[in-house]
Every structure is written in C-alpha cells, then in structure tokens.
Symmetry: C2
Subunit: 454 residues, 2 copies
C-alpha cells in the first residue's frame, strides 16, 4: 500500500423502528429511507429494528443498483432486526447472538424474542481490511430501576469480546448501532475501554445535527415524550465508533444527525435519529513496539483515549497491549472492569435468587397436587379438585420453566464474570499490582466458584 | 523469532463421560484421570463432558501444581461440559454457544439442555500465538435416521466459521474434541475443508493405539456394545486437528490413544478413548503470495489436503485464499459446501413443516377450548368440560412453545444456509465459474428468501 494512501468512507446508521402493524407510517418511512439511501449513496448503511424480513427484501430490491451487497442477520424467534447494505462486496460475514437478552415472561418488552445480536461483515477496500459491526443491545425501559442492567453489561462485554477476537487482522474496525447506553453508562465505558473504539461524536471537529449529538430527541413526533422528560435535549444511545490498527490512522471528518424531521416531507424516518459519518483512513509508517512479539502489536496505548481532548489522529489502544503497560495507564480500564464485574456479580446473585424461588414454587405446586390427589382419592368434591388442579399443574410447569431459565441466566452471567475475572487477573499479573489491589475480588470469586455448581 | 525455532506441544483430549449419578465409577475415574494428567504433564489437557462443575473444581485443585491455568466453559442450563487445563498461562479466552442444539422436548437425549459450545483459549508459547479450541457437538443417536443431522452440520459450520474469524492472527490453530462425526461425515469434511485443519491421525507417522484410531471401541467395558455392533473396530469421533499459518510448519510427531483399558487398574478412564498427541511447530521462511494484499496470506492451497498421502509438512490452506484459486483446486470445497447447503435446506423445510404443524395444533386447541366454553355456557356436563379443558389448554401451550421453538430453529438454519450461500457466491465470483454451475441453487435461495419472513 502506498504511503500516501487515503480512503474516505461514508457510513449511515439508523434504528428504523420497523415493528410491523405497530410502528406508525412504516411503509412510507421505508420508502423514503430507500430513496434517501439511494440519493446519498453511502459506502455502508447499517440498520437496526428492521424486524420484518419483507421490509429488508423491499429495501434490498430498491437499493440494489446503489448497494449491490446486502445481508439480513437472522436470529432468535423474531430476528435480530439487523441488516446491512454495502456499495462494496462483502468478503466475509458472521454474527454472534448474545447469551442473555431479557426474560421470556416480560412479554410487554419482547426483547427476549428478538435474539439480539452483533453482525460482522468484512470488506476489502483498496487493499484495506475493514471489519464493520452492527448491533442492537437490550432496551432500557426504566432507568431508575433497570432490571436488565446486568444483561446489558453482559451484552456490552460479549460485544467487546467478539470485536476483539474477530478483528485481529482488520486494519479498520467500525461499530455502528443502537447500544441503548448513554455515553457514560457502564456498558458504554466498558466497550470503549476494552476495545479502544473511539466515538465519532466526541472525535469529530465538524458536527451538524441535534443538540449534544442526541439520537432520540423530543422534536421527533414518534418519540414518547414522557420517556424523554428527564432529558430535555434528548438522549444519545446510537453510535458510530471506530478504530484503526497499526499502520493506519482514522479520523471522523464530519458527523451529521437528523434532527427529528425529514427535510423533504417533515415527518422523520424513525423515532431514532440517523447518524451519517464521513471517516478518513490514512496509511502511516508502522510504529514498531519492541516489547511485543512478531511486530504485530498496535502502537502505544493513549491515556484517556475516549475523551474529546485527545490528539485528533492518535492511534487507538488494544487491550492485550495494555497488559504490558504500567499501572497509571491502566487505571480507567481496571476501574471499569471491576465495576462491570461487580454489576455482573449482583446479577448472578439475583438470578440465583430467582432460581431458588422457582424451585420453592415447584415444590409448592407438587405439594398442592399431591394434596388434591389425596382429596380426590378420598372422595372429595371432584369438580373443585379438578379446578384447583389446573393452577397447580400450571404452577409446576411455569415454575419449572422459570427454574431452567434463571439457571441458564446465572450460567451466562457467571461466564461473563469469569471472563472479566480472567482479564483482571491478566492485568494484575502484567502490571505486578500489589496484593492489596484485588484480594477482596479474588476471594469473592473463589467463594463464587465453590457455590457455582447448581 | 529465530529461523531454527522449534516447539514441542503435548496435548491430551478426552470425553470424560462425567454425568453425575449416572456415569459409572465417576469419582474413581476422575481421581485416576487427575493422577494420570499430573504424571504425564501435558502442555494442554482439553476435556469434554465434565458436566458437573464440582468435578472441574476437584480436578483444578488436583492439577494446580502441574497445570496452573484452568477454565470451565459455562453455558446453557447444565453447562457445555468443556474445560481446559494448561501448563502455560492463558492469555485470552472466550466461547461460542451453538445456535442449534437439538430439541428441548427430546428429554431422553438432553443435548438441548447442555448448551453445547466451542471454547477458545489463546496461549503465547515462546512468542508463538496458539489458538486452542475445544468442542463437543450434538450426539448421534440413530445413524440410519438421524433427526439431528441438520443441527450437527450447522454446528460444524458455526465451529468452522468461529475458528476462521477468531484465528486470523494465530500462528498455530489446534482443535480438540468430540465432534460426534465419523471422518467421512459431511460435518467433518465441511470443517476440514473450510478451515484447512488437518487430522492428527491421518498425518502422523507414529501412531499407537486402537485399531483405525477409533475413540469408542468395543473393548471398553463402559461402551454400549449394541450401538457399536455395525462397527466391529469401533468408531472414530474424537479428534486432534491442527494447522499452522504462514511462516510456520506443524506436524504430528506421535499420536496415541488408550485402547479401552487403563494400563494401571484395568478399567478405562471413560467410555471414550483418550487422545495424546505430540505436535512439533517449526519456523520457516515466509512464502510470499503476490496475489494477496498486505502479504498476510498463507502459502498456496494444497490439493487433497485432508488425505494422508499429502506431503508430510505441507502448510495448511485457508478458505479466503481459496477464493483466488482456479476451479480445479476448489472442487472439494465447493462440493462439500453445496452438500452442506442442501442438508441445511432440508432442515429448513423440516423446521418449517413443524412450525406449520404446531400452528395447526394451536388452532385446534383454541377451537376445542371455544367449543368447551360454549358447552359449559349451555349447561353441559361441567366435570367433563373441565376434564377436556385441561388437555386443550395443554395443547395450546405446548403447541405454542413448539411453534416458537421451530420458528427459531428455522431462523438458525436459514442463517447458516445464508452464510454458506454467501461463501458459495464468493467462490463463484472469484473463480469465474460459468452460470451453469449454480443457477438452481441461487434460484432456490431467492425463492427461499421470499418465503422466509414467517
């Protein structure tokens, strides 16, 4: 690749709010979205909440001349809702479905039925390998009492982990999607710190759009105004994140959002705002790090790399490299890993409580059934016996399903916690942190391990 | 790394048959396994079917002096049963749980409850990056009428895909586990062809152990002799597979299996035979391929690379590289991809049939309930009405669960089929295969896409 190599990448992201029969003006919005994408001719359009594959097929047909490559990520019962349209051929693609994604009995929320996932497509652009990820994490229905917090943190961790493990040979990593996380939320910090991804909104010098880069704004007529009451400007939960790996620089030249209106017809394309970023990738002479083998490692880990104050073109960090750096550089990562560990630990305790509760309910149901059988055998009132028998059977079956579900939930949270614990252990080893830094955490983990076989 | 770099890697793999309360002599076998692993001091011990985490904790304590690093891969309701013990520090770890893994209502088989998965650990050995994978695929209960065939093929595809996407910066890839696939089975061929992994049994010149390398043999007293009747020598379903990436050569110096007996006490360690391989990794001058960007690509794709007749130290293939080669070289890969596509297509049709059937059953149940309500309202025999109402409610609930499950199954199979289709498309584009090679397949896929939104 030439030293003066330069690549401009125009990216579009939108949560389309595409619930068939429920979302307002869906057909019209899909039509206008298709028209807009055709006119703008982005390199990549990454969409979330395209719940119906018919809508995807409609867009595919409409966008075929401008975006010859497209993919719909199928998962769960309803689907992940994720799809991509690309002007460039997709070399490889895969997806990862999150282990935890809410509760099947929370029918009013329905996230569990979707099979929320992260989709990956690998593009080769002028010899550059681009790994583009699109995702949608579990929604936040109640910020004050968020019962899905542990699940969302686990999802953020899985997402970060998936990106890390699948992007090792990528030159540029791009993540777009609806994270359902505010910029300072634990999951968002965990994702950024562990992957080294940078936030287009914080990085760009040319931003046009809604105040504070919000992607759900009160000006949007489809937004539930009551939900946005605590946030007068709106909330920023949709992101364009990116990083370049050794030998490359990436920067966000411009970032635009829609502002609650479609310039043409007045009604917005979705209840979320669209993000449109122009990224610039440049080749730079590789900065060799003598401490790492194979000369494969990325350049040094910048301090406070997620803040807007950092050097504009500074290369991104990589967690494995972090392990060879001193304690001062590591503190934000260690801090967020510990915080996530604690949140997952709470989640494990809660999942185990529910497992035990369901176990007791199974016992109660069986006891009631035995009692009713005895009554029936003794010549009790048969009709009443049968009537009471139905809820007892229901209790046993329902509690049985709950028991299995929460057992699986506990296993999933334990898995993420163990992975975090492993990373913390590696950081500790590499940094030679003193024994005072994590003894409580390690002891807790050992105790946890003893009690995990249930 | 020095040009005369050489690394010897001793690996142990065993399906431990560790079902608490059901597997015979489990505690004694675990004790003897621990003693054996301590005496032999392998670099890596990869175990399957350690279903109880207590057994893992027991082994961890016992093996701690010899294998300081260990990990248990948690997933599903029961667990994946996978664990690893390593003499060397584990740098990174993650896992992928297979999307499809049997049916929840097949309680007698129980695979669905396990959350079968593939675990990955990354080790750094003398500057070499080793990606070690351990897995256990869905069991085969009836070879003549295998209702899990599509699921196992999808698992093999996901496994191959996971390895491909996570091992791009690895120098050596190692996969051990119980694949529940005979060497010539579709899943096994798909895995080998797509990843380029080579079979230690076929590659080594120094094999000692059971006839034809079988890992379930009639001599083993724990084996169900009836199941092995069609295979007088036994079956080979556990594997050590490996490959080295550009710049490295790997070979299997020796491979041993147990032969149905433990040399010490006479009773075997499990119903499966253990595999013990000594691998040798050597550094070689990188063979630059001018057709690929970045000079990152591995050396040329060898013909018939999965046969024993190939050059002993030939470097492994990589699927992405395959895309730049001519039709002659590609035919085994294309052939197995097509075969897998057809198998998954059958699976999709079957899953959709079951979804429809469940849908009709829901309708029938609702009709019966309505009829019974009408009877009860009309003053019919109440007791009979209630008695008939219970199975009707059960029918609606059971069929509802079945409907959702098979819908998810169809989505999962469609996902794998679409990924295969994408790979076939890429191969076709790159090879400039004539339009006659895949029109039927593509037409079917287009038709499938039209009908997939259900």
């Amino acid at each position: 690749m030439k030293p003066n190599f330069s690549l401009r990448l125009r990216v579009f992201n939108l949560n389309c709010w595409g619930i068939p029969y429920l979302s307002k003006h869906l057909a019209d919005r899909m039509k206008r979205l298709g028209d807009f994408l055709n006119v703008e001719s982005f390199d990549l359009a990454l969409l979330e909440e395209v719940w119906s594959e018919q809508d995807f097929q409609y867009l595919r047909q409409k966008l075929l001349p401008t975006y010859p490559a497209a993919h719909y990520f199928r998962s769960g019962i309803i689907g992940s809702g994720l799809c991509v349209f690309s002007k460039h051929p997709i070399q490889e693609l895969t997806q990862h479905v999150y282990t935890l994604n809410g509760y099947p009995y929370m029918l009013q929320h329905g996230d569990w039925f979707c099979g929320k996932a992260v989709g990956l497509l690998v593009l080769h652009l002028s010899g550059l390998v681009l790994n583009a990820y699109v995702t949608h994490l579990h929604a936040e229905y109640n910020r004050q009492k968020d019962i899905y917090l542990a699940h969302r943190v686990a999802q953020a961790w899985e997402l970060a982990h998936f990106i890390q493990h699948t992007s090792k040979k990528a030159d540029v990593v791009l993540l777009c999607g609806d994270l359902n996380l505010h910029p300072k939320d634990l999951g968002c910090r965990l994702l950024k710190e562990w992957t080294g991804l940078r936030d287009a909104y914080l990085e760009t010098r040319d931003f046009k759009g809604s105040e504070e880069g919000c992607t759900m704004v009160p000006e949007n007529c489809y937004v539930n105004q009551q939900e946005l009451e605590p946030f007068p400007c709106g909330i920023r939960i949709d992101y364009v994140l990116y990083k370049a790996v050794s030998g490359f620089y990436i920067s966000c030249k411009t970032l635009k959002t829609t502002t609650g209106h479609d310039p043409q017809s007045g009604t917005p394309l979705s209840d979320h705002e669209a993000l449109m970023a122009t990224l610039c990738v440049r080749h730079s002479p590789p900065q060799h790090n003598p401490t790492c083998s194979h000369g494969k490692s990325p350049p040094p880990f910048p301090r406070s790399f997620t803040t807007a104050e950092q050097p504009f073109h500074s290369p991104p960090p990589a967690p494995l490299l972090c392990l060879v750096l001193g304690p001062a550089e590591m503190s934000p990562l260690v801090s967020v890993l510990k915080e996530a560990w604690a949140e997952l630990d709470l989640g494990v305790a809660q999942a185990r409580w529910w497992t035990s509760f369901a176990g007791y309910m199974i016992g109660l149901g069986l006891f009631l059934l035995a009692l009713l059988c005895a009554l029936a055998a003794g010549g009790g009132v048969r009709e009443v016996t049968i009537l009471l028998g139905i809820p007892s059977v229901g209790l046993v079956l329902g509690a049985g399903a709950g028991y299995l579900f929460h057992m699986q939930e506990a296993k999933g949270l334990c898995r993420a916690r163990a992975e975090l614990q492993h990373v913390l252990g590696r950081v500790r080893e590499s940094q030679n942190m003193g024994p005072e830094s994590q003894p409580a955490l390690l002891l807790e983990q050992q105790e946890g391990n003893r009690g995990e076989d249930q």
